[in-house]
């Protein structure tokens, strides 16, 4: 009995410690305390908006939320970020709590696009406006007030198109995917397919799942380079993998293989600056974040939106403009 009690206490202490750590990290930039009033919508008090993201473990995500928090400050809104830990059930509870605790609005990135219909209905019933950011739930037009996001399909398309241009429409291409079956992976690949259909001389010689990870990408590309096939370009679905691919190419002593990524995270930007990576597509993570807060603000105030579907622009970043980032 004693042992079990000790084990339980230890786990509880560790858990609390971890949560405290995470919480302070996400509130770090703004120095917010969770002591704000929970009264809903009375004009003189600060508005509170919940931002429920799928996870907060990479640069892209952090950029989105940081920009959101900053925009919130401008507009007099307290933006509180929730990390869904890539678990749909966790996210649903977070949204539910936000409604019950009287948040004025909810912005969320669905972890499972088909699992959130009921909880959004609940929020709407309770009079809490909801919009999507970064990714949209299925049939979002019927459920949420708006969608602010990047377009993974056009991002993928832009990346592949640039590669096609650089190769003059001809060459061997290797593709590194994110986790197969995940929405970004599917959508970005859709973009690739559009371009590949237009350029029959672009041949996909290798393709695999590197799970967004730098080290996995490194190993895979390192091995591909020994498979006897020439590779002219490695097209990666994110910058993390692009960095790994670039290192493998560098180690192999090859100098004119094109490596591209998506997301414009700091590791990718640094790699472009050093010349290892050719270019990346920014889906304007910051823009998504701040636009989402602007949009929810409008909805809370009762304004009608001209356009419910708001996409940020994709920007191609390479050595020519990387110093702006």
């Amino acid at each position: 009995m004693k042992k079990k009690l000790a084990a339980f206490l230890m786990s509880a202490v560790l858990t609390v410690g971890l949560l405290a750590g995470c919480n302070s990290a996400s509130n770090e930039e703004t120095g917010n305390n969770d002591t704000a009033e929970t009264e809903a919508g009375s004009g003189s008090e600060k508005l509170k908006v919940a931002m429920c993201m799928s996870h907060q473990t990479n640069d892209f995500q952090i950029t989105v939320t940081s920009a959101a928090i900053a925009k919130g400050e401008e507009l007099g809104i307290e933006v509180v970020v929730f990390d869904g830990n890539n678990d749909s059930a966790t996210q649903i509870s977070q949204i539910e709590s936000a409604v019950d605790q009287g948040y004025d609005g909810i912005i969320f990135e669905p972890i499972n696009v088909d699992a959130v219909q009921n909880i959004v209905d609940y929020a709407t019933q309770e009079g809490v406006p909801v919009i999507n950011v970064v990714g949209a739930m299925t049939d979002w037009e019927d459920y949420v007030a708006g969608y602010v996001g990047g377009d993974n399909v056009t991002a993928g398309e832009m990346e592949m198109r640039k590669v096609a241009e650089l190769l003059d429409g001809k060459g061997n291409v290797a593709i590194l995917n994110g986790p197969m079956g995940s929405d970004p992976q599917i959508q970005r690949h859709e973009g690739y397919d559009i371009v590949l259909a237009e350029y029959p001389d672009l041949v996909v010689v290798n393709e695999d799942d590197a799970e967004w990870a730098t080290d996995k990408a490194l190993n895979i590309v390192e091995n591909w380079l020994q498979s006897g096939k020439d590779i002219d370009a490695v097209v990666c679905q994110n910058d993390g993998m692009a960095v790994g691919a670039a290192k493998a190419i560098q180690d192999a002593g090859l100098t004119d293989v094109i490596v591209t990524g998506i997301d414009a995270t700091s590791d990718g930007i640094d790699a472009i600056k050093s010349g290892a990576v050719t270019g990346t597509v920014s889906q304007d993570a910051a823009g998504q974040g701040s636009l989402s807060v602007e949009t929810i603000y409008k909805v809370i105030k009762g304004e009608t939106l001209d356009d419910k579907d708001l996409r940020t622009e994709n920007i191609w970043i390479d050595s020519s403009n990387v110093n702006d980032y």
Binding site: D59, N223, W224, G240
Partner: protein
């Protein structure tokens, strides 16, 4: 009066050295399937790819032989990798990030060891908790983003070559193997690790300080993980907080394939080395053949089951 003969035990020979046989067969098969496999450059790559996970597996070997289990090594790789990246940007001599990784690894290993030997927590639970805490810690200190900008000198630690052909990574691996093999087979300490794993009660009753032994093996695993983290950052040029995810599974797999029993008390260092090589060879071969990495997972799983079956049945067939 019992008279016992000792004939050449063919079964035991196969059991002990069988893993090397399997490795040789595997390499032969891969070579046949793709001639590119046996190219010197590719073989060197395999050495590079095995080194970091191999070092990790050696650390795990100590823990498993002593009767324990460590799920946290992957997270230790992540945290120490991040720390190494911060310290490896050129400001300090490279010995500093290395020592930091070793120190952090020893510290976290100590935490595991104390929880398990003095707190009497089951190893699975303790290291699971540590794994989660450290992953969170890695994310916190890195701000969720990979740490970039390590110095060229640091990168060279993993991409350089000794005498132009032997990758430094392989050299480190060999050094680690030599040290670990020496400790396990030649020292009193190593012998006692087997004793603890073989029968903890007997070891204790024979006067071995079991708690100290347990704590020390987790520290060893932690240190190896720290070194692995240091090297991984050099190899990938970034200190990613998510690095090392799942590495503990590969380390355990290498040990299991290599003949280390999950019950503790048995296992040979060369088995673990071969186990780590087998994992790399499979990944490498499949990549060259263009087979999806998802199949690697299936194959790894099957190998684990087969290896454990062989181990269990070997013990029962008396």
């Amino acid at each position: 009066m019992e008279k016992v003969k000792k004939p050449f035990d063919k079964q035991r020979f196969i059991k002990e050295y069988g893993i090397i046989l399997i490795f040789v067969v595997l390499v032969a098969v891969m070579t046949i399937l793709s001639p590119n496999f046996a190219q010197p450059k590719n073989l060197i790559n395999i050495l590079k790819q095995t080194s970091i996970n191999g070092i990790l597996s050696l650390g795990m070997m100590f823990v498993i032989i002593s009767g324990g289990f460590d799920l946290s090594v992957g997270s230790i790789v992540g945290v120490s990798g991040v720390a190494a990246a911060y310290l490896g940007m050129g400001e300090y001599p490279l010995i500093i990030p290395l020592l930091a990784c070793i120190g952090l690894g020893a510290l976290f290993g100590l935490g595991n060891g104390i929880g398990i030997s003095f707190g009497n927590l089951p190893p699975f639970i303790m290291t699971l908790g540590m794994m989660t805490v450290l992953r969170g810690l890695a994310l916190v200190i890195s701000g969720g983003q990979p740490v970039t900008g390590i110095s060229g000198e640091y990168v060279n630690i993993s991409s350089g070559f000794l005498f132009g052909i032997i990758p430094y990574l392989a050299v480190y691996f060999v050094i680690a193997i030599a040290i670990c093999a020496f400790i396990l087979t030649k020292t009193v300490y190593g012998r006692r690790i087997y004793s603890c794993g073989g029968n903890m009660l007997a070891a204790r009753v024979s006067g071995i300080n079991v708690k100290a032994m347990q704590t020390s093996v987790y520290m060893i695993a932690g240190i190896m993980a720290g070194v692995a983290g240091f090297l991984l950052t050099a190899r990938t040029t970034v200190g990613a907080p998510t690095a090392g995810e799942g590495y503990e599974m590969d380390a355990i797999t290498a040990c299991v394939i290599g003949g280390v029993s999950m019950n503790g008390g048995t296992g040979k260092w060369y088995g673990v080395v071969v186990g780590a090589l087998i994992i790399s060879v499979i990944a490498n071969g499949l990549d060259i053949l263009g087979v999806s990495s998802h199949y690697q997972k299936i194959i790894k799983g099957i190998i684990i089951i087969v290896a454990v079956l062989a181990d269990v049945n070997g013990k029962n067939a008396r």
